[in-house]
């Protein structure tokens, strides 16, 4: 082994260590975890995973999370695509200020909005629904989506739009059949960031749900407090939480590189 490869190998080792520990824990019994230090599971068990896949309160946590994350991604993209197009193509009164103001929404801590959202959604009867969490996350995700998409759209020459109009495309037809396919890399990158934020956000998701739409992260915290030390089970849930993100990253990894090259991500 050449000396120059030692540093990256050490770096990756340290990076992977907590993930390895999590995976190892998920195959151990709680007794073994608490019993002492062991690098590998001494006594392999799939009970932790079996519990998650058979107990509805567990697997519905995943479904709930996936449902509102998907809803949020779709809503955010649908709202942000036209907005980003407007910011990219037109100049209108206060456009720069509005663009900046949108971004400032992201600067506020999520906790600030927990109480007003709880009140608001309870009042309109949306409390404990997937839509409530999806909409709440829009506050953070739409500005992010507008910001990323605007960068991609501004990289497409205006002449493309004009060519399409001259060719006879109406605006809606141009937008859906020409423009959206042209920036699909940008949409992929945006969807990834929207997914990531919504998937890992815990506070709002937990505040706005009780039973029907409880996300997996909330299920994990509540189990920990009520059933005592179920560390193996928690580790298995943690592993399963990482997997969707890893899958999404795998699909958009090339687009993200492109996004970095365009300078907005």
């Amino acid at each position: 082994m050449r000396p120059r490869s030692i540093v990256p190998i050490l770096y990756i080792l340290f990076l992977m260590l907590p993930i390895y520990w999590l995976v190892a824990m998920s195959f151990k019994t709680t007794n073994e975890i608490l019993g002492g230090f062991s690098l590998f599971p001494q006594e392999w068990t799939f009970d932790n995973y079996r519990t998650i896949f058979t107990d509805p309160t567990w697997y519905w946590g995943y479904f709930n999370s996936i449902i509102y994350v998907t809803m949020n991604t779709v809503i955010s993209l649908l709202a942000a695509l036209p907005a980003a197009y407007a910011f990219s193509r037109y100049s209108f009164l206060g456009d720069k200020h509005l663009f900046f103001w949108l971004l400032t929404n992201r600067m506020a801590p999520v906790a600030v909005f927990a109480l007003p959202f709880f009140q608001l959604y309870s009042a309109v009867g949306l409390f404990d629904t997937h839509l409530a969490v999806a909409l709440a996350h829009c506050l953070f995700n739409i500005p992010l989506a507008v910001w990323i998409l605007e960068g991609f759209m501004s990289g497409i020459p205006r002449e493309l739009d004009e060519s399409a109009f001259v060719d006879g495309y109406s605006f809606p037809r141009f937008f859906t059949t020409i423009f959206v396919p042209t920036i699909k890399a940008g949409i992929g990158v945006t969807a990834f960031f929207l997914f990531m934020f919504s998937w890992v956000e815990l506070l709002l998701a937990k505040t706005l749900t009780a039973v029907q739409a409880k996300p997996i992260a909330a299920v994990m915290t509540r189990t920990a407090s009520s059933a005592g030390y179920e560390l193996g089970l928690l580790a298995a849930a943690g592993v399963l939480t990482i997997i969707p993100g890893a899958i999404v990253i795998y699909f958009v990894r090339n687009y993200i590189a492109k996004g970095f090259a365009l300078g907005r991500v």
Partner: protein
């Protein structure tokens, strides 16, 4: 069909992008918009195509007012300087797209796309995507998209400017042929006077947002209306100098004077501006009667087929352009020869007052 602009103007904020311009364009021939970058060629095209709304004036197509009409409804084609195609569609689908949106029957589309592809030699590339093509092929795809529908007008905004030299010449030779006989108005913007002369037809000279002259290309080349038109339609730029007419001679400063001929001889005495194209100043003694000019050579450009020399004369820099490779010593005086019958004389307001007798 005819395209007519009546006092069309565009003001953006306090800037005039196009001063009121009137122009009547007929189908069949090339209508060339000639001017430097920023002269208003693209603005004029964008207004005529409906991509931008004029702040004044009217646009008529066959006598019908289309001023506020969207580009979708105008049935026109446009080719940009940059190769604009739909990146996610194949070349076939790119060429077919104007037909698909105007609901041409499916059975007809394939034939028409292939016809356009044959004219532009794109047959083997029909199933590729634009990014997999060379610049010339991409621009030919854009051209095919423009000619595949029977549009009333085709606008070409410096379509060859981004192509390399060889492709540009090749495509320029093909253009008149492939656009001929379509009965559409052809508007072709270029910044190169040579290109205007090669393509013929009519030329509109533009400078700083104004149309300075419009007419048959050869005619306005020989008969520029004013200093602005003359300087736009000359490459390298026309040489100018203030002169004074006294009796039958023109005086340029105290060093140089020459007899005037033809219509110029009848001009009243007074101050004028002389204009002479660089290729009418020869570094060797030409067969025609000529006036020797001594000037210090500043810069020389040899291209093999022609030689260009910049030289000082009476506080100005003039340019001489001649065929073949000429010998110049930079920094040394050289004797050039000017043929006075090729001179243009402009009055003090810039209008052409008279010219020497020879054309060209």
């Amino acid at each position: 069909m005819t395209l007519e602009l009546i006092d069309v103007s565009l003001r953006v904020g306090a800037d005039m992008h196009l001063y009121p311009t009137s122009l009547r364009l007929e189908p069949g021939e090339f209508n060339i918009l000639l001017g430097a970058t920023g002269a208003g060629k693209s603005t004029l095209i964008r207004l005529a195509a409906g991509l931008e709304r004029p702040t004044g004036g009217r646009i008529l197509v066959d006598g019908t007012d289309v001023t506020g009409m969207s580009p979708q409804k105008r049935n026109i084609s446009l080719v940009h300087q940059f190769f604009v195609n739909y990146p996610h569609l194949t070349v076939f689908e790119n060429i077919a797209s104007p037909l698909r949106v105007s609901r041409v029957p499916k059975s007809e589309i394939e034939g028409r796309v292939e016809e356009a592809a044959d004219i532009l030699q794109l047959r083997p590339m029909l199933h590729r995507r634009p990014q997999e093509l060379s610049g010339g092929q991409q621009q030919r795809t854009a051209l095919a998209r423009a000619i595949v529908k029977e549009s009333k007008a085709i606008f070409l905004d410096e379509p060859l400017a981004n192509l390399d030299y060889k492709l540009r010449e090749e495509l320029r030779e093909q253009l008149p042929e492939l656009l001929a006989g379509r009965g559409t108005v052809i508007v072709y913007a270029t910044s190169e006077p040579t290109e205007a002369l090669l393509l013929g037809g009519h030329t509109a000279l533009m400078r700083e947002g104004r149309l300075t002259q419009f007419g048959p290309t050869a005619e306005i080349y020989h008969q520029p209306r004013d200093v602005a038109s003359a300087s736009v339609f000359s490459d390298p730029p026309m040489n100018f100098a203030p002169v004074e007419k006294r009796g039958h001679r023109m005086h340029l400063g105290s060093a140089l004077d020459w007899p005037v001929y033809g219509a110029a001889a009848g001009l009243p005495d007074g101050a004028y501006t002389v204009g002479i194209r660089p290729h009418h100043i020869s570094p060797v003694d030409p067969p025609d009667p000529s006036i020797p000019i001594r000037g210090t050579v500043r810069i020389t450009e040899l291209s093999g087929s022609e030689s260009v020399a910049h030289f000082d004369i009476a506080d100005r820099v003039w340019v001489s352009q001649s065929a073949g490779v000429q010998q110049f010593q930079v920094g040394e005086p050289h004797e050039f020869h000017m043929v006075p019958t090729h001179c243009f004389y402009f009055a003090e307001d810039g209008k052409l007052a008279a010219k020497g007798i020879a054309d060209g």
